[in-house]
Amino acid sequence: MTATERTLRAGIRGRPLIDGLVRLLGPSKVIGEHPEDLLIYEYDGAVDTATPDAVVLPDDTADVAALARFCHEHGVPIVPRGAGTGLSGGAIPVEGGVVVSFARMSRILEMDVANRRAVVQPGLINLHLSTAAAPHNLHFVPDPSSQKACTLGGNVAENSGGPHTLAYGVTTNHVTGLEIVLSDGTIVRLGGKAEDGEGYDLIGAFVGSEGTLGLVTEITVKLTPLPEDKRTILAAFPTMDQASASVSAIIASGLVPAAIELMDQLATQAVEAAVGAGYPLDAGGILLCEVDGLRDGLDELASRIEAICRENGATTLRRAQTVLEREKLWAGRKGAFAAMGRLAPAYYVQDGVIPRTRLPDVLRTVSEVSKRHGLRIANVFHAGDGNLHPLVLFSDMRELERVHEAGLEILTACVEAGGSLTGEHGVGMEKNCYMPLQFRAEDLALMRRVKTAFDPADLANPGKIFPTPSRCREFQLHATR
């Protein structure tokens, strides 16, 4: 997108904005003195870009509140940024304004082992929390594939999932308290270490709000005991149909594995080149399944899963024998998106969710879309949750229109199958035009009123989640055609 197509709303911009921010926070917390620096904050993990007017690196809540008051006074949008690993453009300042990087607010403020809670700053890396909790035999459950890099603040904003949320739930199920700064600078504290509170579930409303309700500055999360043991199974199938049939069969048998993941042949090629975990390259579909819990009985559970896979046509079955082997298998799965650079210079990933039983036919639709548009599509996804991740590969930004079209066809198929637009990546600026596919005008209007209650000035990450007239006109034309 070029700058002229953007709806820029920054009340003040350029030199006056930078000077004002420097006066407010000091030069070490403000980027913008050298305009070329700002180009390095115009992207995240996905395809959309927009250049911020300034970047601010706060040290604490007081900095964030002061910044919000300043921006409120001058009508400048504020857009939070964690590690910039997001896949829906959440951290992209589509209407200009200030990007708030939480890179310097990355501490664990308290590790309350007895109550199994941790109080952390939003810039803390997801994996660093689990690493710090491990000596106490605890961990933070949501484990997005980007967990080595992504931040807790980002996880809260996107309500992130991960392979192990099948059995244990997504981010919102693991957050008990938040400190947030509203777009007018008001500091609000919601919840705490206790499980439930009276009144409206505002934590529930805030988690997954993608920065559109305010900025999170402190998070209280649940820590969960590490399972005593795990069994990780790799099953290779001649076709994706057989692999997805196995997923339905495993769930139908009453088993609740900790994770069930699927990968097709194209995805496996990239992954195997990246980690060398021994994924069979000739298989049409690969299933990765993990069971965890008390050691007794785990082998039996694993055997039952293996038997179901065999009945559904698995040609290879392998159980990780060592911790190292298990870690390699997971490193492959978790590095899958990031390994796509081995196949193509760019990818556009979808995040649709469908009922598990519809996996085989929606996957067939994906493969038809791929053929029709002449675009390679790799599939790697949380099969247990029915959360698809078709990765549309392309090499040139000029192909983007065709790529978006393919993406839209896939999403439409997901919604028609009784599913939803996004499982864990967020709506952002990437799917906001598609919201009417899933929500009626009344539904969206109510959501908009919630947004207005938190952010009446519409300065908190504007241009996200809700369809915007300027950017979505093209889509509406397309949809009515």
Partner: protein
């Protein structure tokens, strides 16, 4: 804004487009860990290199210079990258363009020329320089320099190791026992001028394990420091001299005990890729290069080391771990020493801030990383730090001395050699 001054050496679009900007590299990047800004992350620097191609960023501008200069070239991001981005090649390409575009004062130019073209390629000159510095350091010159206001020179002098050795090695070491192999030892520049004891130790350890070691005299500096600093033509000239001097030898491998040199020697093919006359020779040469630990672990030890009562910890040199993917071999070798307890080191995979000439060019960042390293070494409870590269050795040794920690720093080959002495 006209793109790169010399596109043939510039970071190529083919290598750049491997990056899918996933961000996995951010937490492994030492400068991002310290500074927390995207421009000082591998992904940000790749973006900078891309935006030069599209004409939006100027090579000679503040942003490009500052953040390409601040990169350690430690290549930790390569280990983290699932897409296999070859970042080392990219940043060295970017540096080469920066050198062409940047305006240096006459003094800085002179210092570079003397350092790169006069001192490094001449072992005798370098050895003299090192010996002089060592004496000056013992006489307390660092303090004098600091008092006189030359703080940075004083800091540099503090890096000079307590013990330096620069004696000439015999032309060959005969294999002890049945001969299992024949190799040539790459003696390097700093290794030969300051750590020739380690070169001798490497040869002795190999000989004890049935490997005949030749020490060819015609070789020169590998040119790694030149390439890291963007002086690719100087680096290529040295590469051609080394290839000429060593390629005809009838040996199984060229053995290197300095990780920085090894990583660069293994990339001679890339360095000379556009030189039709030398490309193939360079590729063949590079394919024969082995780190000493890599070679020894592959052939296996036949002689059993003697016991050492020591609690050691191992710090990965970046250009061994990230540049050559050698992680287990040095640790395996250390574990063969009876009585040596190998303790884990937090962030062993993170740069100590030495990074070639980085501690000279970026003293503040280098110091921040060194302090981080020293803290972890002290916390490990080890009474010896082992590593496998002279730059890391000098840097961490200086850091531990400054912190008054009584932890000697040794090269893996020196540790093995010492263990064999007691066998």
């Amino acid at each position: 804004m006209t793109g790169y001054p010399r596109p043939i050496d510039a970071p190529s679009p083919e290598l750049l487009q491997r990056c899918v900007h996933c961000g996995f590299c951010l937490p492994t990047c030492p400068t991002y860990a310290v500074l927390g800004v995207e421009m000082d992350s591998p992904r940000g620097r790749i973006r900078l290199m891309e935006t030069v191609w599209s004409g939006r960023v100027d090579v000679a501008g503040h942003t490009f210079q500052k953040h390409i200069d601040q990169c350690l070239d430690c290549r930790a991001c390569e280990t983290a990258c699932p897409s296999g981005v070859e970042y080392g090649k990219l940043v060295e390409g970017a540096r080469s363009q920066l050198e062409l575009a940047r305006k240096r004062g006459p003094l800085a130019r002179l210092a570079r020329t003397v350092g790169f073209r006069v001192i490094l390629p001449r072992p005798a000159v370098l050895a003299g320089f090192v010996r002089f510095s060592a004496i000056a350091r013992r006489l307390g010159a660092a303090r004098v320099l600091r008092i006189l206001g030359f703080g940075r020179l004083g800091d540099l002098l503090a890096l000079v190791p307590t013990r330096v050795s620069s004696q000439r090695l015999p032309r060959s070491f005969a294999a002890i026992g049945a001969r299992r192999g024949r190799v040539a030892l790459f003696t390097g520049c700093v290794m030969r001028a300051a750590f020739s004891d380690t070169n001798a130790a490497t040869a002795r350890v190999l000989a004890r394990n049935g490997v005949e070691v030749l020490v060819p005299g015609e070789q020169t500096c590998c040119g790694a420091l030149h390439a890291h600093a963007g002086a690719r033509d100087d680096s290529r000239a040295l590469a051609r001299r080394n290839i000429e001097a060593l390629e005809a030898l009838d040996v199984d491998a060229f053995i290197v005990n300095a990780a920085g040199c090894g990583a660069h020697l293994k990339e001679y093919g890339w360095l000379l890729k556009d030189d039709a006359k030398w490309r193939d020779r360079a590729e063949r040469f590079a394919s024969r290069v082995r780190d000493a630990t890599e070679y020894l672990a592959a052939v296996g030890l036949v002689a059993r080391p003697g016991a050492m009562r020591v609690r050691a910890t191992y710090d990965d040199p970046c250009h061994l771990l990230h540049g050559q993917k050698i992680k287990d071999q040095p640790r395996e070798l250390l574990r063969t020493i009876p009585g040596l307890e190998l303790l884990p080191l937090v962030e062993a995979d993170m740069c100590c801030g030495s990074a070639g000439t980085y501690n000279v060019t970026q003293p503040a960042l280098s110091k921040a990383l060194l302090e981080r390293k020293v803290e972890h070494v002290v916390a490990s409870g080890a009474n010896m730090l082992v590593t496998a590269n002279p730059g890391c050795q000098m840097q961490i040794d200086a850091g531990l001395r400054a912190a008054r920690a009584n932890v000697p720093v040794m090269h893996v080959m020196d540790v093995l050699d010492k263990a064999y002495e007691t066998a």
